[in-house]
Amino acid sequence: MTARALINVPPKAKRGEIIGIKSLISHEMETGFRPDATGQPIPRNIIKEFVCTYNGVEVFRAEFFPAMSANPFVSFTTVANESGTITMTWTGDNGFFATESVAITVE
């Protein structure tokens, strides 16, 4: 099953306003340090990088590590300058890739 993401971006904002952006993605974030029922280590499977772009311009980037929780939640702010698209991408182990886009109207 593909990853599910929940995004919270205000659909409308005033020019110059500071807006909050919240994202939640389903991912087990397996640390690589746990053994399975037979004692074999479970291979690491985490998201390694999260990037947010606003009309193609990078506004936020985060590196993720094994100690982060499953289903990582990221909240940050940016300044609403123009109408357009806010895109978030998550990349990780085993070729994991997910992307979500939301539109924002700036008045």
């Binding site: 929940l6 919240k22 939640l24 389903s26 974030m29 929780s69 499953a70």
Partner: protein, 262 residues
């Protein structure tokens, strides 16, 4: 290992706390509180906002499963029950419910699996599997805000009484009953964590300690392990009776599924 240490300390502390207080009766209706009210502001905010509540990921998975055809009958849940937002509203608030087919109460997960085997002619989902929890969370979500209202009639009463007996029976190496903590000492703390009233208002819950959603039975088995008592298998009648009693005890309280708990 990290997860086990606090449990060990909690149960040791429980033995000390509970030994010093006299037993009191069931919690008066007006003093009942959901586990939500024992949480800090961060955890509350996480539950309150659908885009921050990780349980909602499970609801989305459940919604996809609701519409997917399965089994030899080639039917989806939606083929019979159509739009869950109307057909499933308030349903989870009435479970566990008496099933004439098995002549005893069944919980929501068991009811979903009965539909799977009888109507869809598909294999039942294993307990605590992602698919079963997703469907239960999705169905439970449709009852959010609805008052808990399990049947209290001649069919269910013997099983409610069974559940109450299990709740008040001392068990395990620590020789404690559920009631000694959750009825008698719910305003206290154990190893820094609040003792709650064990009101099952938001199951399946997203438990931060688990890093996933889990059922009420999983939570009950946690407590039993803490008492160093023998845990019945998932789906065992004793656990369903205990679930039924706890839901009866929380009657009238609003459903919160999917709740977030620490």
């Amino acid at each position: 290992m990290i997860a086990w240490m606090p449990v060990w300390r909690i149960v040791a502390a429980a033995a000390i706390v509970c030994a010093t207080y006299p037993a009191i009766a069931e919690i008066p209706m007006s003093e009942r509180k959901s586990g939500y009210e024992f949480m800090g502001p961060d955890s509350r905010a996480m539950q309150d906002e659908d885009t921050a509540n990780p349980g909602m990921l499970s609801v989305l998975d459940g919604e996809a499963l609701w519409k997917r055809k399965a089994g030899a009958a080639g039917k989806s849940c939606a083929d019979c029950h159509s739009d869950a937002r109307t057909s499933m509203k308030g349903v989870a608030a009435r479970y566990p419910a008496f099933s004439p087919a098995v002549n005893r109460p069944v919980n929501l997960e068991q009811r979903i699996n009965m539909c799977r085997t009888d109507r869809q002619q598909a294999k039942p989902f294993p307990y605590e599997s992602k698919d079963l929890l997703s469907l239960a969370t999705f169905v439970g979500r449709q009852s959010r805000g609805q008052p808990i209202s399990v049947a209290d009639d001649e069919n269910t009463r013997p099983f409610i009484d069974n559940g109450r007996a299990a709740f008040t029976r001392r068990q395990g190496q620590l020789n404690l009953s559920c009631a000694q903590c959750h009825d008698d000492n719910w305003s206290g703390r154990l190893a820094g964590s609040p003792i709650t009233q064990a009101q099952p208002t938001g199951y399946p819950i997203y438990r931060l300690e688990w890093q996933s959603v889990g059922s009420l039975q999983r939570r009950l088995r946690n407590c039993l392990t803490g008492l160093r008592a023998e845990s019945p298998a998932l789906g065992a009648p004793q656990l369903v009776d205990l679930e039924l009693y706890l839901m009866w005890r929380a009657r009238g309280m609003p459903m919160e599924t999917p709740a977030v708990r620490p």
